[in-house]
Homo-oligomer: 137 residues x 2
């Protein structure tokens, strides 16, 4: 069955890259560097719905992305989470945190309103994220 | 160097199991089944501070624990997260979520006050968690 991205993930995200196995979105909230990685596995809701091989692949990729973006954007901490209480389709949040950011030191979800990127900002951030996009190739 | 558990993780948790590689705590908040898994790796702060082998081991163990506790406690969703903005020592939250729980459908952090287990409740939950404790042996 062809994988269909959940419409809410689609709506909130700017598509950065798509490979055979993954979709990588940038969340349109300029307060954080916040990516969402979605394994293209139909009906997967929880990490344990993936095979061990898929789990390993997802982990190593998430961690590699985390390392790159945390360095690239001078983050103080990397947050990784798969919650999915609202959007059950399995997806992993990859977030660069900076001391003093809009939600620091709490988690970012549900804090204030998203601050969408301006066109110029978006262009610049996407350019800075090309190194991560390469990982999905 | 001998691994030292962060004092805040120690204070908030009830020790469930300790192996050569991990410490597994139950958070003393009866509103959720909420475990914290800590790899005994000195100075690890982010997942990418672990070797690939350690990352894989942590992922497969976390996922296995998640599958068991979600079934055991009739959860609707499993939440897994490594945030660590307040306690930088690398630790993974493993949480069984149930529709209508105290924070549903939001994340659990920072919602209301913890509701500590009574002695009797704690005893019962720890007994139910023995199957998970076995995984660390």
């Amino acid at each position: 069955m062809q994988f269909q991205l959940d419409h809410r993930l689609k709506k909130d995200g700017i598509l950065l890259a798509e490979s055979e196995k993954y979709i990588l979105n940038l969340v349109n909230d300029s307060r954080y560097i916040w990516l969402v990685l979605i394994p293209k596995v139909t009906h997967a809701k929880d990490v344990f719905d993936l095979t061990e091989t898929q789990q390993i692949d997802l982990t190593l990729l998430s961690s590699k992305i985390g390392q790159i973006i945390t360095q690239q954007f001078n983050g103080d901490k990397f947050n990784i989470a798969s919650l999915g209480n609202m959007v059950p389709q399995l997806h992993v949040h990859l977030i660069v945190r900076t001391e003093g950011d809009a939600a620091w030191p709490g988690p970012i979800w549900g804090v204030g309103d998203a601050l969408p990127y301006s066109e110029q900002q978006q262009e610049r951030v996407i350019k800075q994220l090309q190194v991560v996009v390469e990982l999905l190739k």
